[in-house]
C-alpha cells in the first residue's frame, strides 16, 4: 500500500474529526470576520462563531448556493485580501457570471497535496510520466492534476485537450504511464489507438485518473480492457477546489474525501436536513482550510452517499459513492458543465422572444454530441436559404462561445417540440453511461 500522507489518510476517526473540528472552528471565525455574506447570514440565524466548536455543529451553519456565488460575483465571497490571491479559475461553461474561484499560495499548495494523494492512490510515483489531457485554462482540470503530479515528483506532460493524433504520438514517444482525462476521452483514445494499429500493451501506460464527468462501472471495465490499465475515479468541483476533493484507491469502492480539508455531508435536497451515512442525497462540502474561498456548506447538486467504514486499502477517510445524478438540470458534456438555460439565453439575445428548443445529447464513438433543435419563428425565418443558414451559423457560434463546446443546430417547424404540462422538456439525454 502506498499513501502520500499516511498520517492523515489513515488517521483514526477521532483524530480526523478532531482535525476537521479545529479547522472548521477557525474557518467559521475567519468567514464571519471577513465575508459580509456569511456574517449577515449567521447574524440572521443568531449563530456566533464560538457556537461552532466541532463537526457536530456543522449542520447549524447556513448553506451556500451557486446563486450566492453569482450574486457576489466575482470576488464577493473571498475571505482574504485580493493581494494574497495568486490564481483565479472559473467554472467550466463560461457564461458571464459563472462562479469565479480564487486561490492563495497556501490554497495552491493544499490543492497539490490533495491531488498528490489521488495520484499515489492510483499507483503514481516520482518515476511516472503523467499525461494530462484535461483542459488547461480557467477550467481547473488541467492545472489541478498538473500541480499534484509535480508535487509527487513525477514528470508532467501537459498535453491538454484535442489533437488525438498528437496525444497518441506523445504517449508512444514520451512513455506516458498515467493518463488523466475524461473517461469518455479515454475510450476515444483507446479506439484511436486501435485504428492507428497500436497495441496498447506496447505502451508504458499503467493507470488512468479519470473525472470531470459521470461514468459507470461498465465504462471502467471497458477502459481497463481496451487500454490495459487500471482506471481510477477522481472527483472535484472548482467551487471547492477543483479535482482532488475525493479520489479512488486500488479498492475502487467509493472515493475517499480529503476530509481534513473538505468536510462532506449528504442532505435531503428538499428539506436540507442532514441524512445518515449510506443514504443518497445531495452532497454538501465545507472548505475548512482554504484561505481565498472557504465556502461553507456548499450545495454541489450532485447526488451521492457517504460511508465511514475503513477501506481495505487502510484509508480511514470517509468515502463517497460515485455521483449518480443531479438535483438540477445541469448536463456534463465532454467534461463541460452545461445548463439548458444557457441555450435559452443565447436565443433570447438573438431576439427570440419565447424560444422553444430541445437539447439532445448522445454519445457517438465515445464522444458526446449535442444537438439543439430550435423551432422556426418569424424572427428567424426568411424566404432565402442563405439567410436562414446565416441564422443557423450565428446560433451555432453563439452557443459555442457561451458554452465552450460546439453543438449541432437544427431548425424545426413550429409546435413540433413536445410541450408537456408545467415544465417544458428541454433535454433528452440518450447517452448510455
Amino acid at each position: 500500500m502506498a499513501y502520500w500522507n499516511q498520517k492523515v489518510e489513515c488517521a483514526s476517526r477521532e483524530e480526523l474529526d478532531k482535525i476537521a473540528s479545529q479547522n472548521l472552528a477557525n474557518t467559521v471565525r475567519r468567514v464571519y470576520e471577513n465575508v459580509p455574506f456569511y456574517r449577515n447570514k449567521m447574524d440572521e440565524m443568531g449563530i456566533k462563531p464560538e457556537d461552532i466548536k466541532s463537526v457536530k455543529d456543522l449542520h447549524r451553519l447556513p448553506f451556500t448556493l451557486k446563486q450566492d456565488l453569482r450574486d457576489n460575483y466575482p470576488y464577493g465571497l473571498f475571505a482574504c485580501p485580493l493581494d494574497d490571491v495568486v490564481r483565479i479559475h472559473a467554472s467550466s461553461g463560461t457564461t458571464c457570471k459563472q462562479p469565479v474561484v480564487g486561490y492563495t499560495q497556501e490554497d495552491i499548495d493544499l490543492w497539490a497535496e490533495v491531488v498528490a494523494r489521488a495520484i499515489v492512490a492510483a499507483g503514481g510515483t516520482k518515476q511516472d510520466f503523467i499525461h494530462v489531457s484535461y483542459g488547461y485554462g480557467l477550467f481547473t482540470g488541467g492545472l489541478g492534476l498538473h500541480y499534484g503530479a509535480e508535487k509527487v515528483g513525477a514528470s508532467v506532460i501537459p498535453v491538454a485537450t484535442g489533437n488525438t493524433k498528437r496525444q497518441i504520438q506523445i504517449m508512444v514517444d514520451f512513455g506516458s504511464s498515467i493518463l488523466c482525462c475524461t473517461p469518455s476521452y479515454a475510450l476515444y483514445l483507446a479506439e484511436s489507438l486501435r485504428e492507428a494499429g497500436i497495441d496498447p500493451s506496447t505502451l508504458k501506460l499503467k493507470s488512468g485518473i479519470f473525472g470531470a464527468e459521470p461514468w459507470s462501472e461498465n465504462m471502467r471495465l471497458e477502459i481497463e480492457k481496451s487500454l490495459g490499465i487500471n482506471a481510477y475515479d477522481i472527483y472535484g468541483l472548482s467551487e471547492i477546489i477543483g479535482p482532488g476533493v475525493s479520489f479512488e484507491c486500488e479498492c475502487k469502492n467509493g472515493m475517499h474525501v480529503n476530509e481534513d480539508h473538505f468536510i462532506p455531508e449528504v442532505v435531503d435536497p428538499e428539506t436540507g436536513e442532514v441524512l445518515p451515512d449510506g443514504e443518497m442525497g445531495e452532497l454538501v462540502f465545507t472548505c475548512v482550510t482554504k484561505r481565498a474561498l472557504p465556502l461553507i456548506r456548499y450545495r454541489t447538486r450532485d447526488i451521492a452517499s457517504l460511508t465511514r467504514e475503513t477501506c481495505k486499502c487502510g484509508r480511514t477517510l470517509v468515502r463517497m459513492s460515485r455521483p449518480c445524478g443531479r438535483t438540477d438540470d445541469m448536463l456534463i458534456i465532454r467534461g463541460v458543465n452545461v445548463f439548458p438555460s444557457q441555450i435559452e439565453s443565447v436565443l433570447l439575445e438573438m431576439g427570440q422572444t419565447a424560444p422553444h428548443y430541445l437539447i439532445i445529447v448522445d454519445r457517438v464513438d465515445n464522444l458526446d454530441r449535442m444537438q439543439v433543435l430550435i423551432e422556426m419563428s418569424d424572427s428567424l425565418f426568411s424566404d432565402e436559404i442563405r439567410k436562414i443558414e446565416e441564422v443557423e451559423a450565428n446560433i451555432r457560434k453563439n452557443i459555442e462561445s457561451t458554452l465552450g463546446i460546439s453543438a449541432e443546430v437544427k431548425l424545426v417547424e413550429p409546435k413540433t417540440i413536445e410541450r408537456s404540462e408545467g415544465k417544458a422538456k428541454r433535454v433528452i439525454d440518450k447517452r448510455k453511461i
Binding site: M376, S377, D378, F381, S382, D383, E384, I385, R386, I388, E389, K410, L411, V412, E413, P414, K415, T416
Partner: protein
C-alpha cells in the same frame, strides 16, 4: 408592380408537403406557381397563389412559419434566348437575382418568370424601360 409570394418553412420529412398543400386545397386556394429550395434538413416552399393573404392566415393557423415576400413576375416570349436576354439586362445594371422560377401561361407563347431581387423598384424600372411587361398582382390570377 410586384406580386405577393408565400414562403413556408417545411422540414424535410415525409408527408410535410402533402400537409401544406392539403390545408391550401381545403381553403380553396389555387396554386399558380411553386418552387422548393431545400437543404438537408429543411426546405422553403415558395408559392404564388390565388389569395396570398388568406393562404397565409390558413397556414399560420396551422402553426406554420410563413412569410409574404414581394416578387416580380415578368412576361416573356416563350422562345429560345428570351430568359438569357432578360437576365443579361438585369446583370448589366448590377441587379443580382436571389432566386427565380417560372411557369408557362395558358395563352400560347407566353412564359412568366418570377424573380426575387433586393431592389424591386429599380428592377421593375429597368424591365419596364426596356420593353418588358411586368405582371400586376390583379392580373396574375387571370394568366
Amino acid at each position: 408592380m410586384t406580386v405577393k409570394q408565400l414562403s413556408i418553412f417545411v422540414e424535410n420529412k415525409p408527408g410535410r408537403l402533402a400537409r401544406v398543400t392539403d390545408i391550401l386545397a381545403k381553403g380553396g386556394i389555387d396554386i399558380r406557381a411553386l418552387s422548393v429550395a431545400d437543404t438537408t434538413d429543411y426546405g422553403i416552399l415558395r408559392l404564388i397563389v390565388s389569395d396570398p393573404i388568406k393562404a397565409c392566415e390558413l397556414l399560420k393557423g396551422a402553426e406554420y412559419t410563413v412569410k409574404l415576400t414581394d416578387v416580380i413576375v415578368v412576361e416573356l416570349e416563350d422562345e429560345v434566348g428570351a430568359l438569357a436576354r432578360m437576365l443579361a439586362l438585369l446583370d448589366s445594371h448590377g441587379i443580382s437575382v436571389e432566386y427565380l422560377y417560372a411557369f408557362i401561361g395558358r395563352d400560347k407563347g407566353k412564359a412568366y418568370i418570377i424573380i426575387r431581387v433586393e431592389d424591386n423598384i429599380k428592377a421593375v424600372d429597368i424591365l419596364s424601360g426596356n420593353g418588358y411587361s411586368v405582371t400586376k398582382e390583379e392580373e396574375i390570377y387571370k394568366i
